[in-house]
């Protein structure tokens, strides 16, 4: 095995570790929201530092591989796509932290009915499922799976599309809770972005394996 293979193998391990960490952050946020578990939400906020640290580690590894090994072809595409995937995962980490902060501050006030109306649990569930499949797609270099996952994003888009109507309906019936309702509306927007980030990750997996650029293409 050439040295570059060892470096690329280690880079892939770190990337998958980051993906697992982000997924676990989302799962914990979901549980914290369901059970109004404030300490768990605080743990998510605290662990976001680990997500950032992994992004920096991956960036440094990529910089070293580019400078010291001058990768070409598939190897080069893997390094380039890894830099972008790590950036997308870090953004998902930020959104998860924002969700955890909401639970920390407003979790006790947010009634289950409101959360259910916005289908926030379903959205988080879809995001976790997408990340699980994406981890498998990266591990197995499966572009078919990577593209299939991207299609799940449409379920998130659909929920997000209904969110303004839900917001309006809830505000009319609960004028004393407008701020809380708007916060929940913002969360649906952010979770929809998580779907977009995972879709971008799928495009990077396809770029790495097949050298095809899917970014900015419709569908």
């Amino acid at each position: 095995m050439v040295t570059l293979d060892i470096e690329l193998g280690s880079l892939k391990e770190n990337l998958l570790e980051m993906l697992d960490l982000v997924k676990s952050q989302l799962a914990k946020s979901k549980k914290a929201l369901e059970q109004v578990d404030i300490p768990l939400a605080q743990e998510v906020v605290e662990r976001e530092k680990r997500v950032n640290a992994l992004e920096l580690l991956i960036d440094k590894d990529c910089e070293n591989i580019l400078a010291l090994h001058n990768p070409v072809a598939t190897d080069l595409r893997f390094v380039l796509s890894t830099i972008k995937i790590a950036g997308d995962l870090e953004s998902i980490g930020d959104i998860t932290k924002a969700l955890a902060r909401f639970i920390e501050k407003s979790g006790k006030k947010a009634s289950r009915t409101f959360v259910d109306k916005f289908q926030i649990h379903s959205m988080i569930e879809i995001c976790i499922s997408m990340l699980t499949d994406m981890g498998e797609a990266i591990q197995k270099e499966d572009t078919h799976l990577a593209q299939k996952i991207a299609k799940k994003d449409s379920a998130l888009n659909e929920i997000n599309k209904n969110a303004p109507g839900v917001t309006s309906e809830l505000i009319k019936a609960n004028t004393d809770k407008i701020e809380l309702i708007l916060k929940l509306f913002t969360i649906t927007r952010k979770l929809e972005r998580v779907g977009d980030f995972i879709k971008n990750i799928g495009a990077e997996v396809v770029f790495h394996i097949e050298a095809k650029v899917l970014k900015h293409k419709k569908g």
């Binding site: 050439v2 001058n70 990768p71 070409v72 072809a73 190897d75 080069l76 595409r77």
Partner: protein
């Protein structure tokens, strides 16, 4: 416009089938890198372009090798004319044991240029094109051996340019040079591409990717893949090419 065209070219050293059915077209004013592991046939192909292999015992070839549409292996072809047209720069700088000036003037003199003013002009022009003039203009009478390795290689390039070739063959021209001299040779290749067609054999993948427009990957006497250098180094179509350029074999 294509300047070099190989059609079903085969080459043999005795029983050793060194090149098998090579088909390739090279356009003028481009730099083409020939890459591949040792013994793959790239140097054999390069040397065939000015018939350097003719002197090797047991060498024979088949197929057609056209330069500017003319078959260079036809009997009527004069080797001196071919080699004036297709110059060669070797791996190790090989200046003659003469002055810097006479090294460049040599090719002109043996080709019958007697007018000293013309010789002077062409020596200066060639040294300028080889980006060496500024470093040697005050020491043209000094021995070529007084130059550094990198300067000697540029002197050899100037010597090649003096006889006005249209194609320059380079056989690992920077492999014996330090990084700074290598960079100068690479800059020079980039400048020469404007007026000449360059075919370069190199074992240095990064050099191939830096200096060439197109890359041809040879393996076991076969031309495996030939295409734009940017495509070969980012998305090669053949797995063998990818394994070679990424250092996984060869």
């Amino acid at each position: 416009m294509k300047i070099i065209e190989a059609i079903d070219v085969n080459a043999y050293y005795g029983d050793n089938h060194a090149l098998t059915n090579i088909n390739i077209e090279i356009k003028e004013n481009t730099v083409t890198a020939l890459i591949g592991p040792s013994g793959c046939g790239k140097s054999t192909f390069l040397r065939m372009l000015n018939r350097m292999n003719d002197y090797i015992e047991g060498f024979r070839n088949e197929g057609t090798l056209l330069i500017e549409g003319k078959d260079i292996y036809k009997k009527k072809v004069k080797l001196e004319d071919l080699r004036q047209h297709v110059g060669m720069v070797f791996q190790k700088p090989n200046p003659f044991p003469k002055s810097i000036y006479e090294n460049v003037a040599y090719g002109l003199r043996i080709r019958g240029v007697k007018n000293e003013k013309e010789v002077e002009e062409r020596v200066e022009k060639s040294l300028k094109k080889a980006v060496l003039w500024g470093e040697v203009k005050d020491s043209l009478d000094k021995s070529a051996y007084s130059l550094s390795g990198g300067q000697q290689q540029r002197l050899c390039i100037a010597r090649t340019l003096a006889v006005k070739p249209s194609i320059i063959l380079m056989d690992e021209p920077a492999s014996a040079l330090d990084p700074l001299s290598t960079a100068k040779i690479e800059e020079l290749i980039a400048e020469l591409r404007e007026q000449y067609t360059i075919v370069i054999v190199t074992h240095n993948m990064h050099q191939a990717s830096r200096v060439s427009d197109r890359t041809a990957f040879f393996y076991l006497g076969n031309l495996i893949e030939y295409g734009k250098t940017s495509d070969i180094f980012t998305n090669p179509k053949i797995k063998q090419t990818e394994n070679y350029i990424s250092g996984r074999f060869g």
